[in-house]
Each structure stands twice: as structure tokens, then as C-alpha cells.
Symmetry: C3
Subunit: 675 residues, 3 copies
Amino acid sequence: MDRLLYGAAYYDEYMPCERLSQDVEMMKKAGINTVRIAESTWSTCEPQEGVFDFSHVERVMDAMEEAGMGVIIGTPTYAVPTWMVKSYPDVLAETRKGRGIYGPRQIMDITHPAYLFYAERVIRKLMECTAHRKCVIGFQIDNETKPYGTAGRNVQEKFVKYLRKKFNNDLDALNAEFGLNYWSNRINAWEDFPDVRGTINGSLGAEFEKFQRSLVTDFLRWQAEIVSEYKREDQFITHNLDLCWRGYSYGVQPEVDHYEVAKCLTIAGVDIYHPSQDQLTGEEIAFGGDLMRSLKKDNYLVIETEAQGFPDWTPYDGQLRLQAFSHVASGANSVMYWHWHSLHNACETYWKGVLSHDLQENAVYREVCTIGNDFKRIGSHLVNLKKQNRVTILVSNEALTALKWFSIQMHGGSEDYNDIVRWMYNTLYHMNIECDFIWPETESADMDAYEAILVPALYAASDAVLERLNCYVEQGGTLIATFKTGFANEKVKVSHDAQPHILNRCFGVTYQEFAFPKQVKLTGESLAAFSDKDREASVFMELLMPQGAEVLASYEHPNWGRYAAVTKNTYGKGSAVYIGCKTTENMLEKIFRETLPETILTEEPEERFPVIVRKGVNDLGRKVYYYLNYSGQEQNARYAGTEGTELLSGRHVTNGEALILPAWGFQVIEAVFPS
Amino acid sequence: MDRLLYGAAYYDEYMPCERLSQDVEMMKKAGINTVRIAESTWSTCEPQEGVFDFSHVERVMDAMEEAGMGVIIGTPTYAVPTWMVKSYPDVLAETRKGRGIYGPRQIMDITHPAYLFYAERVIRKLMECTAHRKCVIGFQIDNETKPYGTAGRNVQEKFVKYLRKKFNNDLDALNAEFGLNYWSNRINAWEDFPDVRGTINGSLGAEFEKFQRSLVTDFLRWQAEIVSEYKREDQFITHNLDLCWRGYSYGVQPEVDHYEVAKCLTIAGVDIYHPSQDQLTGEEIAFGGDLMRSLKKDNYLVIETEAQGFPDWTPYDGQLRLQAFSHVASGANSVMYWHWHSLHNACETYWKGVLSHDLQENAVYREVCTIGNDFKRIGSHLVNLKKQNRVTILVSNEALTALKWFSIQMHGGSEDYNDIVRWMYNTLYHMNIECDFIWPETESADMDAYEAILVPALYAASDAVLERLNCYVEQGGTLIATFKTGFANEKVKVSHDAQPHILNRCFGVTYQEFAFPKQVKLTGESLAAFSDKDREASVFMELLMPQGAEVLASYEHPNWGRYAAVTKNTYGKGSAVYIGCKTTENMLEKIFRETLPETILTEEPEERFPVIVRKGVNDLGRKVYYYLNYSGQEQNARYAGTEGTELLSGRHVTNGEALILPAWGFQVIEAVFPS
Amino acid sequence: MDRLLYGAAYYDEYMPCERLSQDVEMMKKAGINTVRIAESTWSTCEPQEGVFDFSHVERVMDAMEEAGMGVIIGTPTYAVPTWMVKSYPDVLAETRKGRGIYGPRQIMDITHPAYLFYAERVIRKLMECTAHRKCVIGFQIDNETKPYGTAGRNVQEKFVKYLRKKFNNDLDALNAEFGLNYWSNRINAWEDFPDVRGTINGSLGAEFEKFQRSLVTDFLRWQAEIVSEYKREDQFITHNLDLCWRGYSYGVQPEVDHYEVAKCLTIAGVDIYHPSQDQLTGEEIAFGGDLMRSLKKDNYLVIETEAQGFPDWTPYDGQLRLQAFSHVASGANSVMYWHWHSLHNACETYWKGVLSHDLQENAVYREVCTIGNDFKRIGSHLVNLKKQNRVTILVSNEALTALKWFSIQMHGGSEDYNDIVRWMYNTLYHMNIECDFIWPETESADMDAYEAILVPALYAASDAVLERLNCYVEQGGTLIATFKTGFANEKVKVSHDAQPHILNRCFGVTYQEFAFPKQVKLTGESLAAFSDKDREASVFMELLMPQGAEVLASYEHPNWGRYAAVTKNTYGKGSAVYIGCKTTENMLEKIFRETLPETILTEEPEERFPVIVRKGVNDLGRKVYYYLNYSGQEQNARYAGTEGTELLSGRHVTNGEALILPAWGFQVIEAVFPS
């Protein structure tokens, strides 16, 4: 990419009045150089079956082209027109709750031939109309695609065929692996296969969800292939991947295999929404960014992020600017708002865009102007930021899903897979240790490139993955894993040998029992200085019995006192740390400090959250340092690089120089000499 | 009406034993002069299709006639007999949740021809049997009617016809006004109209609810017309209107247009239930009463209110009496209990009547006797109380529904339309400022008669209504409106000019952004004496930018400090106050004191809640003052009228005389000379 | 029974690997002598319709027989195979929520002929294969059977026939008794009978639930009769009855008439699960045990109880042992764990058995070994423990169901029937007063054998039952009943004479009103020493008016002060205590102390919870005393029996000797001489 993309989703067709030229003017003034259009306009561009009208797309492309702005074309397939549902009611997905009713977006069966037939036709028509246009810089296929719970007869029949293939037609093998004898769920003939929507079998249930994720991969690959027939070399294909949603972008997406989907994209794209005002921390910006950057080991696009957003997100002065630069500091090559104008009808009226409902300049627009013009001015120093991280976190859809079926929360616990991921991630973030992500599918060579792998709650994994991790340690790596790792295989069958399965070798520890920690603290020689509150164990507690490992902490409790809580083991050339319970973040930080390789710890900046430090190398081969203040109070930092230039002010900065960061402010320093 | 009606719903057909003559004796002793019968007896009076048996109605009328008591006849249509559902299962409404199952009352489709056919026949038969009876003083059509969520195919087809008419068959206009382009919801042919039950479009959804309310109006008008064919001149037609239910009668009824329904009634009727014991405040009695009195600008009937009610309503000594006189003080011409005896079966067994399950005299019955005999003695001084209030509150079903679709609560707020209405109302109530209600449909002349109009959260309103309010100020009125006023039009399309739409002219203020107040206080010169707690902002916060208005209060907050919170503007001959956030009641009281016209403030009694003062003029043209003590402690008051008589004791009272009000007690003073 | 059964449910067919001989070895080492098998294996033993394969049952029987262990055979009918549902989808029960989807167990219609046909065939085949085997000591018919909400057309037609019979075809009688006139629910022709799933009529609803309970009785009797055709004289028939489930075994089972079902069993069986760790109290062990022992007035089997159970149940050291001996102390002749090994798949993976997932010896297994070997050693002194209690508690499914339909919780209360039962039971338990249970159906002679009957909230009961209780007092018994007793008849029609119906004679008290106690305390001469907290009234409050009874406590409250709260009355030769509200446990203990017969109070041990004392007479005619410490701290006790032997240690113990009970520890002392 040759410049930072700065822009917004633009919905000319939602406008309550003619605004196009005025909007273009306002955008240009703000330094906006890209709009995303067309992605939810099926009923507008195909008003009746086979009748096409792309005039609303054309007119926007015309205007943008004239203004010298870029356009991302979204295929319009994530919301179907009324006529399709009227004629083919069963394009709406049949889920556990039955068939949906028309109204919401994203409720169709993405495997249904009628849907696919119409989708293909409208995509091709749209491509014919847009792909050759100069202003069109790339394509977004569909939007935030999910399986939408599709589980009708057709889908279930596909699933049975999938299982027959997976198990080489061997039903006994399936019964054994999934443990279907339990509660008489055994299936003795393929034609007896029951409605999977009712299953209580976690192996079968998780497998069906894996199958549903594969439907998303297939669907997006199919769209990418169609688009590829039309697109120019210089045009990208992306998708608006989104994270697990908890009112904001929280964690690993349970319903989509990001790793697989990314293969059909030329660049990863994402939407990142996050708390704001006093709750703005940058955690989601960094988390989502690191995840996206890791997918294709390259820069990525932020396709949507909040401008004003909800009333509890209305940004304070400076926050929007801090956010924009934070995205870029994580390796984003774009910052695009959802959306340009606030909607006057329908349902997302309070998810406000850059402009308020009055469509006039406002506080947010004015801050957008400063960002856009900064990007214009210094963007060439910021774009294509590359990182070489030494730490990575292993995340897994299989583990997430399995830990949903066998939830910690079921009998008293309080957290799920993503909470454990975020606990590890946030601790690194607050320490200013940058990291990447890997997946079970990541190739060994890529895995071995890291000096430390963190493994949150890898509840379900194949023996092969566990053996590779074991081997990684043996060959000199540092592995830090939490409770619930290595418990079940990829079919969610719990191992019947010593826990953690296979990994007990490298960890030098095993356990047979576990409980919920109630008034349990960690204790150990090195914890003398820790407060009672900092020593609290929470969420889940495995009763560890070292088999050679060193005990870093034990449980303080009348009955559980004889068990270890955190252990460290030397194995081969490497070292492996096992954390048997959820700890406080301070405790985890201490564990990291004691067990991460020196090479990592010596690079750790002296700043800590709320000052966030991000680094990378730019297109000029120079190192760039971001010092970001995630607080409403002025903060101090110290520049750690070699002689440099603060890019916004042009100020010269020397190593060790004190930096003053205003509330929600930041500095970006580029080393003078290439590293 | 020539006397206060005092009575109860009477269910002879629910009695576990023969009780009629004994009940009549007990009623007479208690001073009860009216019973309401027949309103849920369809299965009894038409045991099989076309077979009629009104003997249970006749025998009660006979007994009451002999005892000289009046009877209100309820049409029995709100609960259908089993045979109807057996033969025509689709008389049960199909709702968002599907078709109902027989059992509860009020689950039928009030538009279904089969239901209407049978309903008309049984009403006519009942009228033939009752209308000519001397004891029958009036009719209640149906009971607490609602649309019951009816949304089956037939209803939706009616709705589409309604829309075609409303939009002159112009689908493009509908798409534009409702913003259906969003998420591809655009409808390009009438025959494509999707099932409205699934819609996520707030404009379409709110319009359907408005349509559903019109079904109630149509249904009740139709019943009223049938009854009118039979009724005598001296017999009234009423309906048991009920308020928004939150375990008690809370606010504006969302599912019925009271204003429209009232047109087909000769007198408004209402049920009012409220917390009791230590929670008894009189707020609901006053609120419901003021609303009902305003509907037809006349006295009204309290058709149902609690005797013992639920276990948490079992009244303390004196409370029932205080309640009865409070109803009359608001302009009620009746106090009727639901119900005479407690039920021994079914489901409302714990909603206890005057008599407990043992059907004997009890504490409540003994208090009823004192009330009944007081009414007999001094009722002619109490009946037909008239009021001439200077303040009114504008309430709107459209605003309520729109603010449900775009709920403040959606992303962190905590209140809805009725909470804001009650906040304003309760503040006036506690200040002893009596008020009326008006609706968007109220005629201009009626509106102009008031010196001040309060407008809680008029979220959706037509331009015409907003222009009228603007004009009201211009011509000298005082307008006090809250946040969320004038945001969207009556189709729930948000205005795309300066907020508040149109009214920004009279308010001299606008805003572009809003947020939820978190640790935000109001601040201003005149607030120095206010405690931190009293200065808290809550619920929602608009960031006001004065365009000429005087700032009464600003926000105290690191980021929002530059915005105004409460403003006052002189516009034409009048003045307009805008309140940008929810405040404490003390703060709102202060705003009222600073901004209401002097004429109102000088009339304000010196008493404050828990002493409530109500006033009016009786049939003798004399002013009547109620001093009501809503507390368990003795209270003092001071008589503000001219030379008068305390009606219960006959005691002579002079202006300025100190009144001692016992716990849950009261005094009623009639001025000696007509005013 | 000639020995204590000690064992576990054993699922060879769920094992992830061949384990049989190893498991048998481990069991023998642990002193386990019994396994329960086959109860959820239908899909394994009848893999396709009419194809039978019992090899997995045979091989376990072979192994157990060789090892000298006993086997309990469970009929496999509580979970149906996939082929049955595929061919006959309507064997799945149709409930209020519609037809179920295959997956969970216990979702079939237990009245459906297709289900019954296949069930009978598989039971007969299983019996043919197992009944003659030497190792088979008994049979468990089905498992934790319930009606599963079955309410399809077929079931409802049966219900109407049941009503026609009950009311001698007299529909008017039914309408009158159930109060169906209410809300027009009157049924005027049998063919009009509406879908009972929608009813709001508590009488009809409760009757349908009673009918559903009768389906369970019929179903289990039918299974027992089939099994009886095959079983030997020495083989028992039992069922795994379970209690009301609140995450553990809490109270009276609402969906099954235990009293009726027990008639078709040769010995009662039960599962008892309970909180553990710091929450272990023994309450559920004692409650469930007393209930089961009372069913057939004999010893009973604990068929399932927790080994490790859920993570919050993982036992502390000693707890498993304390639990096992507590079961036996209540009269259990077996302690059987659910289950031997932890499951590796499906859904109960975290309901852990004796062995953890690694199938190796662990902490729990080691404790099981000590228990098993103790039982082997001294079991003959423990088995068949008999009790002769003087106090009994009357419990009733009818009352429970009626109090669900007319819930105290509906308008502010916080408890239900079982909470009131457990309040009374727990108070006795903490006082170490052992008790039995009786039912409304219990014969008069059995009832009269007790010196005191406690009656928690007997909300619905026939006149006959109430007359018998009245008569019981008249003839010298002590009756202690709580609020909500004697309110409605067995058809849930509230009495229309003085409350409590009939019993007001023996209690010498009546009431007409009730309320929820809010800041209400009990007050009375004898309560001077009680703290404010101990005097609190809660849940519900009847306003008692004594008609001759002595007032033990009144309400302390500005308005309710004139009413009594607890009364005591001498009636005939006996005495009757009425408790009008929920009190603290300390208060209830005081009431018991003041009102229970001296014979009971003089026998009361001096120990109180957490030291629990249980007694009985063993097969040798000797009295056995259990001193159980339900706490994590060492406790003292004093041996109250005559010269004895502590059975575990063989130590000689004399009357009055001090006993030291370690944390979660106990002593078992057998008197030397027969009593």
C-alpha cells in the first residue's frame, strides 16, 4: 500500500436529502481519501429479481473519482431483499430456534442454492460495473460473515456427509471418538442420524460448530474467486473480519476460522470497536491489530471503527486522534470510520458516525480533520509499519468452542476462553511487550521463530499440536500455559492419561483433581511482598502435583495447601511454565518477569500502562516509536531509541530524552538513521 | 352525575356458595351504592354457541334493584368461551410468539370476523336483557382492551392497506420516510411486503404499533355504537382504561390511544392500582386522575382500585379512607373496588377484595363502611369537583413508542419515557402544583389556555406539533421541555437539521452530541447551596450549545464542562426552558421555581409532600380544599382558603388556621361562600 | 440385606479403552462389592429395532461374578435410541414448549404405545439375560423417572377421561370445584375441553400435574410387574428416586408421588447430591435419608451419591468418609457413587467419579479404600439400622404443587414449599432431634404413633386430612403447623369459612388478612433475651386473631402490632401450635423447645450442629451412636449411651465419656448390651 487509507463507510442511499457533493467537499477538507460503499444495498441495486440498477453506486464512484478519492466496493450479500424471501422463504436459515423472520440482516442460509444463485449474479453485475473504475482500490467480500446458526435439513445432511468422510464411513469409530454410547446416543446406522440441534454431546456439538465455521470459509472463498475473475492486479480483496462481541470487540471470534478465511484475502480487514471516554485503554485496538497483523503476517486494514458511536462512546477531546495513531502503531494501513453520517432511521440511529444527524461540522469532524491532515503530511513515514516480535500467543477456535461446551462457568466459575486469552494479552500489553498470534494450524517453522509462546486454556487440541509444543520446548523455546490446556483432543474427548495430556512431559507436572478457588491465595517464597489481594486465585484451580518441576507458587488453603499452583520446568534446552489457576494481573506479570527469556525482558520499555509504547520499522527502513498516553492525566515517558524526529512537530529528539504526553495525547518519533 | 358512586365489581357467578342477599345486606350497611357485573361471563351467559342464559345477570339486577343500588353492566367480550376457540382456533391472536393457547383472557384477535360476529351477538343479547332495567346506570364496554399483539396474516394485510392509503400508494415515499434502504430492507413491490413481526426498522415497527392502537380504537368505537343503540339517555358508556403497568399503574398506556378512545365514551373510566403500606404516596391516584380528567375535560370514574389487593398492599388503618377521598379530590365521581369478595380459585386468588375468603366482616370492610357512610352524608359537596389548572403536561403515545424502539436504556441508560413523565409529574405533585394533561392531538385553543406546558421527552412529533409549541411560546406561553424532545418526526425519522428540531428556535439552543452522564454534576451560579448528590446528572446528557439562551446550569466534568445542561430563553412574548439531562427532583423543583410563571408560583401552597393539597369547585360553586397526609406520622398544615367548614366534622375553619392531620389522615374544607 | 452395599455405577461401555479387569482389581482393593450397570444402554443393547446384543452386559456380569461382586441391573428405558425417534418422532413428549428434539435423555412420552412396546421388549430381553445370574442382586427400574412435561393430545385426552371419572361425568361439578367461571374459562361440553397447557386456572393446572404424577406411578408399576415375572425371590426391585433439584438434592420431589411409587418397589432407592467443601453440612444426607426410610418404614439404598462430583464438590480430606457413615447412620444399606470413572465425552464430563479421567489411583480413591475396608470389617454392626422416632413431618405433593400455582413469591415473598419444609427439618436436624416423614395418604394408625407432627405449609389438603389432624390433637398429639396450612382443599379451592380451615378448631386461632413482613419483628414476654436479628419475621405474615389460643409471640410493627404471630392452644388432650410467619431458625428452635412434648425434649442430645448425633438399633439388637463432626474444626462431644465400643478403633467407651471429633471426623459407638 502506498499510503494510509483514511475514510469511512459512506451510505449515499441512506441520506435523507441530496448531499453527495457537500459530503465530498467535507471529506476532502478532512483529509479523507477513501470510502467504502455498496455493502448493504442489494434491495437498491436489484430492486426486483433480475432487474439491476447500480446508479447509486455509479454516482458515488463518479464523485469520488472526480475528487481523487479511493473507493472500496463491498459485495451486497449480507442482507437479502424482500422479494427473495417472499419467493424462497427457506433462504432464511433454520436454526435451533426455528426459521427466522425477515427483517434483520445476516439471517440467511449461506449454503442455500437459491441464495447463492442470486448472490453470484448480483456480485458479477456489481463487478462489471465497478472493477474497471479507476477510483476502485479494492473489494470487501460480504460483511462480518457468520454461519448465522444455519442448521436446516440440507445443512445437516451436508454435515453427515462431512462426518462420513472424516470417519471413512466408519460409524463405530465416530461413536467411540465422540462417546455417543452415553445416554444411549449411539448411532447404529447413518440413516438414524438424529437432529444435531438437540444434541447434548459436546464432541458432536463442537464438531457441528467447526463444520459451520467451514461453511463460512467456503462461502467467502467462493466470493473471493468470483471477485478475482474481475479485479485488477492493483485492487485488493479483503473482508471485514470481526472479533467476539461483548458490546465491543473483545476476543477470538468463535464462529469464524480467521486463519482459514484469511487465505482467500489479499489483505486482512477488521472492525474494532471499544469502550471510550474514561474506559478507553487501547487494549482492543492493540489486541485486534496484533491478531489481524498475524493472520497474513503483514499489515492490515481497519475497515470499521467508531467515530462517535454510542452515547457511552462519544469521544473526549483527543481520543479519536489517539485511537487513529494507535491503529497505525499496531500495523494498520487504514483507519476507516463506521460511518460518515449518523443514520436517521431504522435501528442503528444511535451508532453515530463522524457527522451527527444534522450533517454539519461538529467536534468529532474537527478532530477527524486534524488526523486526516496529519496522515496526509506524515503518512508516508507511518504506513506499512513492520514488526518482529519475540513473543506469540497461541489461540484456537477448537479450544474456544470446546470450552464453551464444557464451560468453566457451569458450576460456579465465572470466565470463558476469551477472558483467559485477554488476561494474558492485557498483561503483556500493560507491560508494553508486543506480541503476535499463532494458531494450531500455524506452520512449525513460524512457531519456532518465537522465543516464547503463551498458551491460554488450549482446552482441546490434537496430539500433533501438543507434541509440537513439547518439541518446541525441548528445542529451546519458552512455553507458558494456563490451566485447562491439553485436557481434550480436537474431538473434545478428554485424555485418559496424565493431565495435561502430552504436555505433562515438558511441564513436569500433572494433576488429577481441580476445584473452584474459594478464599484461596497463592503463596511462595518470592511472594512475600505481595498483598493478600494480589495473591488471590480465581476462576478455576487445578491441584498440581510436580513431577520434577519447580514450584513457583502453591495454594494457601486448609485443604489444598499441599498442591502446587504455578510451576516451572526445564525440559531439553527450553523451559515450560504451567499456571494452574487464574491469578491477578500483578501476579501474572511477576510470573512473566520471572520466566520469559532475558532477550525479551531486556527490551521491555520502562513505561507501563497508561503509557503505551509501540514500535516498528517503516518503509524507509527507520524505526518508529509511538508513545501513547491512555489516560486523562499528563504522563511522562523517556525516548528509548536513537537520535530521532518527533514526526508531528518535527522536533529533534535524543536518546533518553524526557517526553511529556498530554492527556489522551502521544508522540511519534522516527529514528534518523535506518536500523 | 348526581352522587358519588361507591362500589365494587361483583362476581356472583364466582361465589362458592349462595350469597346474594347476604352480600346485598353487607353492601347496604357499608354505604355501597353501585356494583359492576357481567364483564367476564361470556362462557356463563352463552354456554354453547347461540344458546343464551342471562339468569345470573338477571338475579343480580333484581337484587340490586330491590336494594336501590345501581348496576354497571360490562360487556363480556374480553375473555372468550372454550367452544369458540375449539371451533375457530384462529380467533386467538397470532403474535410475535406465534398463536396463543386458550387459557388467559385477552388473547384474541380483536379484528377477527368470527370473534366480532359472536361478540356483537352476545352484546346485543345482553343489552336486550339489561338496558331497560331501572337499576342499570351505565355500561362498560369490554375491559382494559389492548391489541394483544395481534399480528397474523389478516392483520398484516390490513396494515399494508393502511400504509398504501397513508402513502397514497407511493412505495418510494414509504421507503424514503421509513429509511428502508438500510440493511437492504427496501420494499420494491407491495406484494413483497415482509412479515412485519421481524422488522428491525424502528419507523416501520412504531408505525405498526400505532396501527395496532388504532385497532383498539376501532374495536371500542364499534362496541360503543352497538351499546348506544340500546342505552337510555341517562345511562353512560365508559371503559376501564388502564395505565402502563409496572406491578401497579405507572404511566402513559403504550398500547392504547386514550385520547382517541375517550371520544366514543360518555365518561372516562380507569383502574388505578398503587403501592401501599409504607409505600403509599398518592402519586398514582393523582397521576391517573389528572390524566383521566383531562381526557374529556370532565369528571371521571374510578372503576377499579384496590381494597386489600396483594399481600404487600394490605392497607394500614386509615389508608383506604385516605385513598378514597384522594380519588374524589382529583375529580373522580366514583370509587369502586376490585372487588367485593376474594376469589377462591383460578389465578387472582391473592388479589383480595373487600371481603376476605371467609366472606365475613373484616378490618377492611369496617373501613369501607366509614367511607361509604361519609360519602352518603357529605357526597353532594364532593361530587363533580371542577378544576382550572394553569399547568399542563404534554404526553404522547408516538413519543413513548419511538423511545421504546430507540431506547435510552439500549447502551447504558436506565429509564424510559414514562420514567421521564413521572419525574416531571411527581415533582409537581410534591410541590402541590396541580396540572392537567394534553396530547399532540389536543386543539390549539385548549393548549393556549395554559400558562405553562411541560414536555417530557417528546421524542417523536410531527412538524406541526413542534411548530405549534414554538408558536405557543412566541405568543407568551412558558414551555419547559426535557432532553429527547423534538428529535424525530412522527414516522420516527430523525431530523437532519439542528436539534431540537424546530424548537431550537424557541429554546435558543442546539446540540450535536450526547452521552451518558457518568460522574457528571450540574453546576451554575445559583447552585452553590446544592449538595453534590442533588447536583447529579443521570440517565442521558445532551451537550447543549446555547444560541442565545441563558445558561441556568452547565455540566461539571473534565471533558463536558464547556456544554450547557439547562437553558432558558426568551422568545417572542414567552419563555422556553430546555433541560438537557435527567436531574434530581430537588434540582427540577428549583428549575420550576425559577422558570414557571409567577401566577402559578404565587398560588403554590406552602405545604409539601407528604402533605398533599388538592382543590376544586363543587356543584354548589364553593371551593373545596383537601389536606391529605401521606405519611405514618402526624403532620401540620395551614388552611389557605376563606372561611370554611371541615366537612367530615362540621367544624368551622378560618383562613390561616393550623390543621393537624393524623397519620394517613386528612381534612376536607369547603369554603362557606361560593368563589 | 445381609451386608452394606458399597459400590458405584459402572459404565464399561463408556470407557475409552479396555479396562474391565483392571477396574475389577481396583474395586476389590477398595472394598467395593456392588456395581450398577446397564441403565442407559438401550442404543448399545438394541442397536437396531429388534436386534439385540447384550454382550457388554454379559461381560461385566461375568467379571463381577468371578470377583464375587454383586450387580444391580438397571432397565435401560430412560434414554431412547436414535432409530426409535427416527421412525416414531412422536415418542418424544410434546410439552408446553412443543415437541422436543432428540439428544437429551428423559424427553419421551412415557405413555406412548410405541415407546412402551419397545421398552417392554428390551426389558424382557434384558431380564432373560440377567435375572438368573448369581451376581445379580437386584433391579433398578428406569431412572429418576418424571413425566417430562408430557402433554400431547393423547395425554390430554387421557386427562379428560380421568376428570370425567373423577367428577362422575358431571361437568357442572368440575366447573364449580375448579372455579372455571372465572375469566370465562367455564367448559360447557366435554368436547370443548381446551388445551390444558394454556390454563391459568390453578385448580385445573394443579390437577393436571397430579395426573402427570400418576403417569409416573403407572409407568413404574408397569415396569416393576414385568421385572417381577423374571426376578428371583432374593433379588430386590428398586428405583432411583430423586429429590427436588436445586443444583443439589433439596426437597420434596414435585413431579413424582414418592409415596405411591414406593408401593411397587421392594426397597426404596435414592440419589443424594449435596454441597461439599466448606458447605458440607450433612443436611441433605439426613433429609433424603429420613424421607426414604419413611417411605417403606424400612432401610433404603443410596443408589447414587457424589464421589468427586463437580469442581465445587471436590471433597476435602475426610469428607467422603464422613458422608458414607452419615448415610448409614440415617438407615441406608448402601453407599453407591455416581460413578466409578469420570467421563471423557458427552456432557457430564465434569461430574467426576471415583477415578479421575486418568483412571489411576487418586486422593478420592484412596479414601474410598478406607471406607470400603471399614465397611467390610464392621459393616455387620452397621447394616439394617432401625429407628423409632417420636416426631414426624407431614409433607404433601398436593400442597407443594398448589403453593407453586399460588406462589408466595408472586408479589414479593421469597420462598416456596420446600424452603418451608427445609426450615422446619433443618431446625430439628441442628437440634439433633431425629424424625420421620408422613404423607396425607399415611394411615391413621401410623400417624397416631407419633408424639408430635410438624406440618409445614400444608396449603392444599382434603377436609378428611384436616379432620384427622384435628382429631390427632384432640386425642393427645402435639401438632405444630406453619402459615399457609389448611388454606385450600385438595382441588386448590380456597376455603370460604374461617382460616385455617377446620384446623382453626384445634389451633384456637383464625385470620382474615395477611401481608409480607417488612421490618417486622416478633415480640413477646419470653423473647426479651432475643436479638433484633433473631426476632425478624420473613417471607409471609398471617395476621392471627386468637380464639382461645395463648399468644406466644406478636408482631412488632406500627400497624400489625395488634395481631398474634405464634399461638399455642390446648385442644382435647393435646396441644396445637400455629406459626403465622417464617421466623429465624433460633426462634423456631425456641418454639420447638417450648412446645414439643417433654418425652422428646428429654431425649434431645446436648450436642448441636456442627456435631450431629444419630442413633438406632442394629441387627444385633444393640444401640449404635454416631457422633459426626460437620466442620473443619475439631469438636467435642459426650457419649450418651451405656457402656460401649467405638467400632472403628475397638476402643471401650463409657457413658458420659468425652469424645474428640477431628475436623470432618466421627466416632461410631455400639452399646455392649442389647437395648
